[in-house]
C-alpha cells in the first residue's frame, strides 16, 4: 500500500467532500456581503487552479495569467455594459467623452449577450492557442516563456491604457447594472451568483482533475519533468504544451467573466504584473502540484488579506512576503506537501513496492 495521498479514490472522495462543503455555504450564510466575498474567493480559486494546471502539471510558468483573465473580464464587462444601453442611449457614456459618435466595431458584437459571452471566453482562449502555439513551436520554455508572458502582459496593459476611447483607459469599465441572462438577473450579492461561480469552479476542477489523470495529463507531466526525453519518444511536445496552456487560459477567461459578474468592474489593474504574480503566489503557497492545494492557497491568502490585512495594517506585506519566502525555501511544493508528508507517516513500509527515491522524484497526479 502506498501513500494515501496518491490514492485516486481517496482524492476524488476529498474533492466531493470539499465541494459539498462549499455548496452548503449559502444555506448557512445569509450575510450578502460575505456571500459575495466568498464567491470572489471562488474566482481566485479558479485562477489558482488554472495556473496549477499549466505550471504544476505542464511545467509552464505563466506570469501572464492576467492576460486571459483580463480579456475575459473585459469581454464580460463590455457585454454587461451593452445590456444597460437602450435605443435612445446606444453607446456607453465614457465613449461620448472620448468623442466617439457611434459604437465602434470592436463593441458591436457585444450588443448580443450570447455573442458577447462567447467572445469573452473564446477570444482569450484563441489568443492562448495562437500565442502558445507560436512560442512552444519555437521551443521557448522555462524562464524564457515566463518572461515572454510578462512582456505580453505589459503590452496588453499599455494598449488598454492608451486606447481610452474603446476601453475606458485607467478607469476601466463600470457596467451600472447586474448581469442579465435571459430573463434572469444575477444579483452579485445573491446566492444565485454564488452558485454560478461555485458551479464553474467545480466544473473546472473536475475537468482539470480528469485531464491530469488521463494519459494526456501523464504526458504533460512527463514533459514537465524532462521535455527532451518526451520529444525523443516521438511526442509532439509543442502540441501538448499548447493544449495545456490553452485550457488553462480558458479557465482563467471563465474566471474573468465570473469576476466581473461579481464586482461589476474591470480595469487595467487586472492586467497589472502584480496581480498575475499574486496568482502565482496562491498556487505556490497552496502547492502547485495539487489542484485542491492551489485553490485553498488562493482562499487562504485572499482571506487573510481581507481579514488580517486591516488588523496588521503596517506589517501585512511583511508577513505575506515573509510567509512566502519561508514556504518557497522550506516547502517548495507548498502547503499541500505537508499533507503529503503527513500521510507518508502512515505509509506501510512494504519492501515489495519500490518507493521512489526522495528528492527530485517525478510527482504523480497529486
Amino acid at each position: 500500500m502506498g501513500n494515501l495521498y496518491y490514492n485516486k479514490t481517496a482524492q476524488w472522495a476529498v474533492y466531493v467532500v470539499f465541494f459539498a462543503a462549499l455548496g452548503v455555504v449559502p444555506l448557512m450564510v445569509s450575510d450578502s456581503f460575505l456571500l459575495n466575498q466568498f464567491a470572489t474567493y471562488g474566482v481566485y480559486g479558479m485562477l489558482a487552479l488554472s495556473l496549477s494546471l499549466c505550471w504544476g502539471f505542464g511545467g509552464i510558468l505563466n506570469l501572464g495569467q492576467g492576460i486571459a483573465f483580463g480579456l475575459g473580464a473585459y469581454g464580460m464587462a463590455m457585454t454587461m455594459q451593452m445590456q444597460s444601453q437602450t435605443e435612445s442611449n446606444p453607446i456607453p457614456p465614457f465613449m461620448l467623452n472620448n468623442s466617439l459618435e457611434s459604437l465602434p466595431m470592436l463593441w458591436q458584437p457585444f450588443q448580443s449577450t450570447t455573442l458577447g459571452l462567447i467572445l469573452a471566453v473564446a477570444a482569450p482562449t484563441l489568443f492562448c492557442a495562437v500565442f502558445g502555439g507560436i512560442m512552444f513551436r519555437a521551443r521557448v520554455s522555462g524562464p524564457f516563456f515566463a518572461i515572454m508572458t510578462l512582456a505580453m502582459l505589459s503590452a496588453f496593459y499599455t494598449i488598454i491604457l492608451d486606447r481610452q476611447a474603446y476601453t475606458g483607459g485607467v478607469n476601466g469599465l463600470t457596467p451600472p447594472g447586474s448581469f442579465q441572462f435571459g430573463d434572469f438577473e444575477i444579483d452579485p450579492y445573491s446566492p444565485a451568483a454564488y452558485w454560478v461561480v461555485f458551479g464553474f469552479l467545480m466544473g473546472a476542477t473536475f475537468l482539470t482533475k480528469l485531464i491530469t489523470q488521463s494519459s494526456f495529463g501523464l504526458v504533460t507531466q512527463a514533459i514537465r519533468d524532462d521535455a527532451e526525453r518526451v520529444r525523443f519518444l516521438g511526442y509532439s511536445v509543442a502540441g501538448y504544451e499548447t493544449v495545456i496552456y490553452t485550457i488553462s487560459g480558458l479557465i482563467a477567461a471563465v474566471a474573468g467573466c465570473c469576476w466581473v459578474m461579481l464586482v461589476q468592474y474591470v480595469s487595467p489593474a487586472q492586467m497589472d504584473v502584480s496581480f498575475s504574480l499574486s496568482i502565482v503566489i496562491w498556487a505556490a503557497i497552496g502547492g502547485r502540484h495539487s489542484l485542491l492545494g492551489s485553490i485553498l492557497g488562493a482562499f487562504i491568502i485572499q482571506g487573510a488579506q481581507s481579514y488580517l490585512g486591516d488588523t496588521f495594517l503596517a506589517t501585512w506585506l511583511l508577513i505575506l512576503g515573509g510567509f512566502f519566502i519561508v514556504v518557497v525555501r522550506f516547502l517548495p511544493n507548498g502547503l499541500a506537501s505537508l499533507v503529503e508528508k503527513a500521510f507518508g507517516l502512515f505509509e506501510r513500509r512494504d519492501p515489495t513496492s519500490s518507493p521512489a527515491p526522495d528528492g527530485g522524484r517525478p510527482l504523480p497526479a497529486e
Binding site: 524562464p143 503590452a155 506589517t315 511583511l318 519566502i325 518557497v328
Partner: protein, 291 residues
C-alpha cells in the same frame, strides 16, 4: 519635423538607453552568472535611493560620494540576502523568482515602515541642474552624468570579468560549475560575490534614479520588468544587455517622438515578444552556459 529634432531624439535615446542599461546591469551579472531571476532587483534599486537619501539627510554626505556609498550599502544587503536565502535555491531557478518576489514585498514594506510612505528627494549640486547646448542639441547635465556613470560601470565590469583572476573564476563557474570546483574554485564564494556586486550596481542605479525622479518605497516596481526584458533579450551577457538597452532606448525615444509615450511602450513590448520568438536565447547567449 527637421533634422535637428530627430538628432535630439536620437541623443535622448542614448540617455534613455543608459537608464535602461544601468537598471539592468546588476540583474545581468546575477542572472548571467548564477541563473537567479532576482525579482527583488527593483527593490534593491529603491534601497540605493534610500541609502543616498539617508546619507545625505542625516550625515550631510555630498551627492557624488553617495554613489559609491550606496553601492557598498546595497551590496551588503545583497550579501546578506544571498547568504540567508538565495544560496539554498541555486538549483531551482524558478523558485528563486518566487522567493525573491517575497523578498521584494518585505523590503518595500520594511522601508515604508522606517521612512514612511511620503516621497523623499535627493539634492544634487547646482551644476547638475542645468543643461548643455551643443548647437541645436540640448542635453541635461545630469543625463550626461548618468551616461558617464553607466559607461564607467560597463568598462569596469568588462575589465573585472576579462582581466582579473576573479573574472576568470566567474566565467569558469558559469560554464561548468563542477569542473570549476574540481580546479579548486569555490563556486559558492563566486556566487556570493557576484550577487553582492549585482546588488551594489542596483544601489548605484537607485542613487541616480532618485535624482531623475522620486524616492518612494514603490519606485522599484517600475524598473524590474523592463530590466528583465533587457537581460533576456541580451541573453544574459554584458554585451547583450548593452546592445539590447541601446536599441530599445533609441526605439523608445524615436517612437515617442513620432507617436506618444504610451504607444511607444506598447510597440517595444510587442517587438520584444517577436524578437524572442525567433531568438529565445537572446542576442549573445554565452556559449556553454548551462541552460
Amino acid at each position: 519635423m527637421d533634422l535637428s529634432s530627430l538628432l535630439n531624439a536620437l541623443i535622448l535615446g542614448v540617455s534613455i538607453a543608459s537608464i535602461w542599461l544601468i537598471a539592468a546591469l546588476g540583474l545581468t551579472i546575477i542572472y548571467g552568472t548564477a541563473g537567479v531571476i532576482n525579482m527583488a532587483h527593483g527593490e534593491l534599486i529603491m534601497l540605493g535611493a534610500y541609502s543616498s537619501y539617508m546619507l545625505q539627510f542625516h550625515l550631510g554626505l555630498p551627492y557624488l560620494l553617495c554613489l559609491p556609498a550606496s553601492f557598498v550599502i546595497v551590496a551588503l544587503v545583497g550579501l546578506a540576502l544571498e547568504r540567508g536565502l538565495i544560496r539554498y535555491l541555486y538549483n531551482r531557478p524558478l523558485d528563486t523568482l518566487l522567493a525573491t518576489y517575497g523578498v521584494s514585498l518585505v523590503l518595500m514594506q520594511g522601508v515604508r515602515l522606517i521612512f514612511g510612505s511620503d516621497p523623499k528627494y535627493l539634492a544634487v549640486p547646482e551644476i547638475f541642474q542645468s543643461n548643455v547646448m551643443l548647437g541645436s542639441v540640448s542635453l541635461s547635465a545630469f543625463r550626461i552624468v548618468v551616461v558617464a556613470v553607466t559607461a564607467l560601470l560597463v568598462i569596469g565590469l568588462w575589465l573585472l570579468f576579462y582581466k582579473t583572476r576573479y573574472g576568470v573564476q566567474v566565467r569558469a563557474v558559469m560554464q561548468n560549475k563542477e569542473m570549476a570546483a574540481s580546479f579548486g574554485i569555490n563556486a559558492g564564494r563566486i556566487y556570493m560575490l557576484t550577487f553582492a556586486l549585482g546588488a551594489g550596481l542596483a544601489g548605484v542605479a537607485g542613487a541616480l534614479f532618485g535624482v531623475l525622479a522620486i524616492v518612494l518605497p514603490t519606485m522599484g516596481a517600475s524598473y524590474v520588468v523592463q530590466a528583465f526584458l533587457m537581460v533576456v533579450v541580451g541573453g544574459g551577457s554584458l554585451a547583450g544587455s548593452v546592445v539590447a538597452s541601446g536599441v530599445t532606448g533609441e526605439l523608445q525615444s524615436v517612437f515617442a517622438f513620432f507617436t506618444n509615450d504610451t504607444f511607444a511602450r506598447f510597440i517595444i513590448f510587442v517587438l520584444i515578444v517577436i524578437f524572442l520568438r525567433f531568438r529565445p536565447q537572446g542576442l549573445f547567449a554565452q556559449a556553454g552556459a548551462r541552460r
